[in-house]
């Protein structure tokens, strides 16, 4: 039984059955096996991301173009810098964790408290970064996109389209964010104005309605626009980089079937394939929940260390065990970073 003990283990340290497989404690081994099973869950998720990425290769967004903002920096272009910063924060908090474990091996209580505290702070920073990134992803760009027949047309970014009392205003933005505006004054009677007010009110609160409720309102709105002889001028970017006005037929097709999309939710997103948003929420959310529980566990262990509970016990193995979990969280993020953001 060579695997049992390469060194003599005193009786107090042995497991209940009076042997210690692999010469590790029961708790540490079980933590390892838990981590293996959890790693398989994440593997399944990331492999599923790869599967859908190839299935929808032509509409899968490029992450560098989706995540390129930094807090307080407005709309400047920093592809993936923020995600890299998050990765770095998590790596650093992993380092402080391993330093806490090392201090634990020397029974250096002050050292453990310092490093474990910094680990908790690092974890909180990561969580807040994730909150910021989620809100940025959900909010989306000012330009948005138009969805036609379930396909996202990014270059026809829409800002707003509305009929107001005195006429019609359509605001669009091209791919570079330049605002294009179209205003047409209308000779409207009171009844028409009221109808328009009512319909635009509904459409401005579109998120309060189900798609089934919204469809007739939309239809009525579009019919009204057509009856007034309105058509929207949509710029479209051709391959030579110039903008062309769409033909009337194309505009009509867009008006009938097109739908402005801003940001992201579980049903659609302005960036491309809906599976991209779904996997973003699920994979980073599942990982974020791991980080959250890790921060809570680290905090509890920290409180125990401060109280001197492990000092009495004679060893700081609990720090080592929570450390294993925390490193695992970092490890998973390294893979998420590569397989969701980079590749």
């Amino acid at each position: 039984m060579g695997s049992h003990a390469s060194k003599q283990i005193d009786l107090n340290t042995l497991w209940g059955g009076k042997i210690s497989p692999f010469s590790v404690s029961y708790g540490k081994m079980m933590m390892w096996f838990f981590l293996v099973s959890d790693a398989l869950t994440f593997s399944g998720l990331l492999i599923a991301v790869g599967f859908f990425r190839h299935k929808y290769a032509n509409i899968w967004p490029v992450s560098e173009e989706v995540f390129h903002a930094l807090p307080f920096m407005g709309h400047k272009h920093f592809p993936l810098i923020y995600v890299a910063l998050m990765t770095f924060i998590l790596i650093v908090s992993s380092v402080t964790m391993v330093l806490a474990v090392e201090a634990g091996h020397r029974k250096d209580k002050k050292g453990i408290i310092k490093w474990l505290f910094l680990t908790v702070i690092g974890g909180l920073f990561f969580l807040l970064s994730q909150v910021w990134e989620w809100s940025h992803f959900i909010h989306g760009s000012d330009i948005g996109a138009v969805k036609v027949h379930g396909e996202i047309l990014k270059e026809y970014g829409i800002k707003e389209q509305s009929i107001v009392g005195h006429g019609v205003i359509a605001q669009w933005a091209d791919a570079d964010g330049h605002k294009l505006e179209y205003i047409e004054k209308l000779p409207l009677n009171e009844a028409q104005k009221e109808k328009i007010e009512e319909l635009t009110h509904h459409l401005h609160h579109a998120s309060d309605y189900t798609p089934e409720e919204l469809a007739p309102i939309n239809k009525e709105y579009l019919a009204l626009m057509e009856s007034l002889g309105l058509h929207l001028r949509l710029p479209s970017k051709a391959e030579d980089g110039k903008y062309y006005i769409l033909t009337k037929e194309q505009q009509k097709a867009l008006l009938r079937t097109g739908k402005p999309v801003f940001g992201a939710n579980l049903y659609e997103n302005e960036y491309g394939a809906k599976q991209y948003g779904q996997f973003f929420f699920f994979v980073t959310g599942f990982h974020g929940f791991h980080v959250f529980s890790g921060v809570i566990i680290n905090l509890l262990i920290l409180i125990n260390v401060v109280k001197g509970r492990y000092d009495k016990r004679g060893h700081y193995e609990m720090v080592e065990k929570t450390g294993l979990y925390w490193h695992f969280v970092d490890l998973v993020w390294v893979f998420v970073f590569t397989f969701f953001y980079l590749v």
Partner: protein, 116 residues
Amino acid sequence: MERDDVIEYSLDAHHSEEEGKKIRSKIYKVTLALSVLTIIEVGLGIIASGWYGVSWEVVKYTFIVLTIIKAYMIVMTFMHLGDERKNLRWAVIIPYLFFAAYLIFICLYEGAAKMP
């Protein structure tokens, strides 16, 4: 019932001050390597699209190789799997590799199947 997680501990639960110094310098080296690799990954992602003659495939596989190197360093140094007994090391790694490879295989194999 007596809680057995209270009394037991691993053989390697303690080390001396000198050993600690060595371990810490190793930790700092690995930290530096991990940071540099992350910077290389992001930099590569930014400039790779502008390189002529370098296909995205090559960049992609570079990313995957760098990631596996990073994972190896985290698991072996930070998680101290490198310091555990050989048997535990393989008991953790082999089932994982086996099932991950199986998942990838099934995805590629079934993904390539034609619908009847």
